[in-house]
């Protein structure tokens, strides 16, 4: 072994050791944060004397204000599936197109695309708002008057994003499947009763459960990742874009990993 590599070896180990230590500490911190949010969520009704308004505003921003973009993406996805499904000669006759619709819209892309939109809109907004509140000492001002920032700021966002995520996913499904029916009328007209009965036959309890569970867990992931990163700001406004970019990166990465794990779990 050369002297050079002998010298690099401890540095290499120290670097990896330090990174592993930091990762472990961050994971423990994240789990502690999650636990704290869960505890406060159970006490939300009794403790949150003033947090209900924040919850309503969060549902309005995350859910209602996102309806347009969700509709656009759901309709375009339904259209594309029907368009290409009809290119396959036996797709309609063998019900393959209905299987594809349910697989793509209900089981896979519906929840994931909805989560990406919610992360890009609400996740970014939450991380930006909370980090700027840390920098301007607004969080300390809440503490000074006795208001727990987790209870007042995080729990309404956690509940608002998670509930909105479930509702938006449901809306995505309805829009996408309804749009696919309307587009199908132009390409290959089918009676509504026949179309929807075929569709319902593919919509198994497993597919519905997977979609609901995904949207629930995605909502939890988005709200926690963005809140946790928001609170990591220290003292400078220049930290805010860095924190937001990190939150989005972590959020998207986790959503993809969780999506794969849930798909595999429900496949068995």
């Amino acid at each position: 072994m050369s002297l050079t590599s002998g010298e690099e070896h401890p540095n290499f180990l120290a670097r990896w050791g330090s990174a592993a230590f930091e990762l472990t500490a961050n994971l423990f911190y994240a789990f502690g944060f999650f636990w704290n949010v869960l505890l406060e969520t159970f006490h939300f009704r009794s403790r949150s004397k003033v947090g209900t308004q924040v919850l309503v505003m969060q549902i309005l921003f995350t859910g209602v204000n996102a309806l347009f973009i969700i509709t656009l993406i759901a309709v375009s996805l339904g259209t594309v599936i029907i368009f290409y499904g009809n290119q396959i000669p036996t797709a309609v006759s063998t019900n393959l197109v209905y299987t594809i619709l349910i697989t793509v819209i209900t089981r896979e892309l519906g929840p994931l695309l909805t989560a990406f939109i919610v992360m890009a809109r609400s996740g970014v907004a939450i991380a930006t708002e909370l980090s700027s509140m840390v920098v301007t000492h607004e969080i300390e001002a809440y503490l000074a008057v006795g208001i727990n920032p987790i209870s007042y700021l995080v729990v309404p966002r956690f509940l608002g994003v998670t509930l909105s995520m479930i509702a938006l996913n449901l809306y995505f499904n309805v829009s996408g499947l309804a749009a696919s029916y309307l587009v199908a009328q132009f390409i290959h007209p089918i009676p509504a009763s026949e179309y929807f009965s075929q569709l319902m036959a593919q919509l198994t309890p497993n597919a519905v459960s997977l979609s609901v569970v995904k949207s629930l867990i995605f909502g939890i992931v988005i709200s926690l990742v963005s809140s946790l990163n928001g609170f990591r700001a220290q003292q400078s406004t220049t930290e805010i874009p860095v924190i937001v970019i990190r939150a989005v990166g972590q959020g998207f990465g986790l959503l993809i990993v969780v999506n794969i794990l849930l798909t595999l779990a429900f496949a068995g």
Partner: protein
């Protein structure tokens, strides 16, 4: 000082941010029913001590006793009960940017008094605003106000629950003389009611006007602490240096404390 007569007591407090050590084994006992002023050069840790005493930030080691109990030993309900009886004015006002001025002042009131009617809340908010001389800007956002006005809103928010203890971080910075006079009169009146004020300032006229006790700080150390008349007579060259340095920065407002200093000269 007898700990039962202390409002806040820092015992062997060590605090650092990242690699920077601000205090090491710091001890300080801030008396109840008095106005204690912390003075010192910028960056010496005055605001941090104020926040540590108020339980807003926890030290890495040591303990902070407030009202005869450590902040860490209180559960959430006990902490909320203490917060209802304290007010804090931040150096940068720290108003909630996404709320109106009215919402900023009324939120602590709503939180601690959910039984209050809308009319009661409105009355208390208007009274707090009147006491500090805040003009009627109820539906404006904090960003529309000058820093001086934001400080007034922060002050109104701090007193709206009729606290027993006020923590004031440079409360008169950015205020014109008229508003400063009004706030000082309020602090004096607050003190006369037997309540406690812990105040950080660089302004010697504020110190001379309201301080019962004075702490002189430098580099995270308390150089002198005690009744103001004793501290300004200190023969410690470091204390004299800081006092004269602060006075030279605010020469036009320093007549009162210059008087106190001259009383201390042999």
């Amino acid at each position: 000082m007898n700990s039962s007569s202390a409002c806040a007591e820092l015992r062997e407090v060590t605090f650092h941010t990242g690699q920077v050590l601000l205090f090491e084994n710091l001890n300080l006992s801030l008396a109840k029913d008095r106005c204690t002023v912390l003075m010192g050069p910028a960056g010496c840790g005055k605001s941090t001590i104020l926040k540590i005493a108020a339980g807003l930030i926890l030290p890495q080691s040591g303990s902070v006793i407030f009202d005869q109990k450590s902040w860490e030993a209180r559960n959430e309900e006990q902490t909320i009960a203490v917060r209802a009886k304290t007010g804090f004015v931040f150096q940068n006002a720290a108003l909630w940017a996404n709320k109106t001025i009215r919402q900023n002042i009324e939120l602590p009131l709503q939180f601690h008094n959910p039984q209050f009617s809308r009319a009661q809340i409105e009355d208390r908010v208007r009274e707090a605003a009147r006491q500090v001389g805040l003009r009627e800007v109820w539906d404006d956002r904090p960003s529309h106000l000058s820093l001086g006005e934001q400080k007034l809103v922060s002050f109104a928010r701090a007193i709206v629950n009729d606290p027993e203890t006020l923590f004031l971080d440079d409360p008169t910075a950015g205020l014109d003389n008229q508003l400063k006079e009004r706030l000082l009169a309020f602090i004096e009146d607050f003190r006369r009611q037997g309540k406690t004020v812990i105040l950080v300032t660089q302004d010697p006229s504020v110190t001379a006007r309201v301080a019962d006790d004075l702490a002189i700080m430098r580099d995270g150390q308390i150089l002198a602490f005690g009744p103001i008349h004793e501290v300004v007579q200190s023969q410690d060259s470091r204390v004299i240096e800081i006092l004269t340095s602060v006075l030279s920065q605010a020469a036009t407002f320093s007549q009162d404390i210059l008087g106190l200093l001259s009383e201390g000269q042999p």
